[in-house]
Symmetry: C2
Subunit: 222 residues, 2 copies
């Protein structure tokens, strides 16, 4: 398979076997973050230990704590690293949707598929864990705002007409749709029920269509 991705080569090594300190540092950090997310995905938050992460990263215990003073710092950094990467994927996926056809349904389905990704389920675990972990909550609070903003921006680009027509209300509808799918995804983590989800997505699509095409004064007049 030809690898035609746009990721620049970014020479990890400078020709010969030598690497600058900066390169060595960055490589180890990257390995640790990737291993952290991988572990979270495979074993879940509760079973993510520093030892396991170092094993997967192929790095010593000492190296981990040289880069991150505590386990919480590692998890926070992993979250900070994960979210922008997810956003890039979202954007790509939405831009790949054809101009023609049922764009509302396509958007809902795409969003659902996104929430089925293991990395996103790992992100959900982080959110849940943050309830009882202040340090993690602080990081997520920082990370969440730009994330939400970009999701809204993607939605506006995807539905430019409705976005313009509805103004700020559009954002709230987007938020609501995202949260709906998030909630459904959460439910299906433990108890997958494909037919039920399918029905839910159908109704969500129908309601979203009403919200987008229909009354801009959805909430006025009581």
């Amino acid at each position: 398979m030809p690898n035609t991705t746009t990721s620049s080569p970014a020479p990890a090594t400078t020709g010969n076997g030598r690497r600058t300190q900066e390169e060595r540092k960055a490589a180890t950090r990257r390995a640790l973050l990737d291993a952290t997310i991988e572990t979270m995905v495979e074993l879940g938050y509760a079973n993510t230990t520093t030892t396991e992460v170092t094993k997967r990263a192929g790095v010593s215990q000492g190296a981990l704590f040289k880069h991150f003073p505590t386990k919480a710092a590692l998890l926070g950094a992993a979250a900070e690293d994960l979210f922008p990467r997810l956003r890039a994927e979202y954007r790509e996926a939405f831009e790949a949707v054809p101009e023609t056809g049922d764009r509302v349904r396509a958007a809902v389905d795409l969003l659902w598929d996104i929430f089925q990704k293991p990395e996103l389920q790992a992100a959900i675990e982080l959110y849940v864990a943050a309830r009882t972990d202040e340090e993690l909550a602080a990081v997520l609070t920082e990370v969440d705002a730009p994330h939400r903003a970009e999701l809204r921006a993607i939605a506006r680009e995807f539905f430019p007409l409705a976005a313009e027509r509805q103004g700020e209300a559009f954002d709230s509808v987007v938020d609501l749709v995202i949260d709906s799918i998030q909630g459904a995804a959460l439910g299906s983590l433990a108890v997958p029920d494909a037919p039920r989800r399918e029905r839910e997505l159908t109704y969500l699509t129908a309601l979203l269509r009403l919200a987008l095409e229909g009354a801009a004064d959805l909430t006025t007049g009581e």
Copy 2:
């Protein structure tokens, strides 16, 4: 030898200080389950240890493992115990809503309040943890079906007209609304954003009103 008078050798049950084995057993079991839920609420799933549970229950480690062969069994039993109790609370809350006024908005608000309860947030942690814990997932699968069924039943009683008019479609709308609120609640665990939630609930109310009062053929005709 001081204290000989006050610290009597515990007169071995004055009269009906006696409890049957069944009573003793049930009391310990109850204490363990309550302590488990309490710990989950306060410390989160990841920090819920058998040691902490026994401490809170005022019981020995041995006692815990006499009642529950593994930690997972304890957590499963806690979930099994929690869900019916939650349901009873739901029913009570919905029945307390006055007949007059905006019942749609009342239902949405009530559901939101319910999802703010610590016990429910503990339940969310269980669902998330179940992704990487088969034993827990099995218990939740069993527990989830009757739970969902009763939620739908409560909704049908709350909106009898719409329920009758829409038939099976009603259930899907209910599922969707519950999942929406669940998703919003999940998001606000780590990042509370009251104004955003308020807006979301407003739109959810508006859409739900459309779904309930409006077209029964919401999903037909594409």
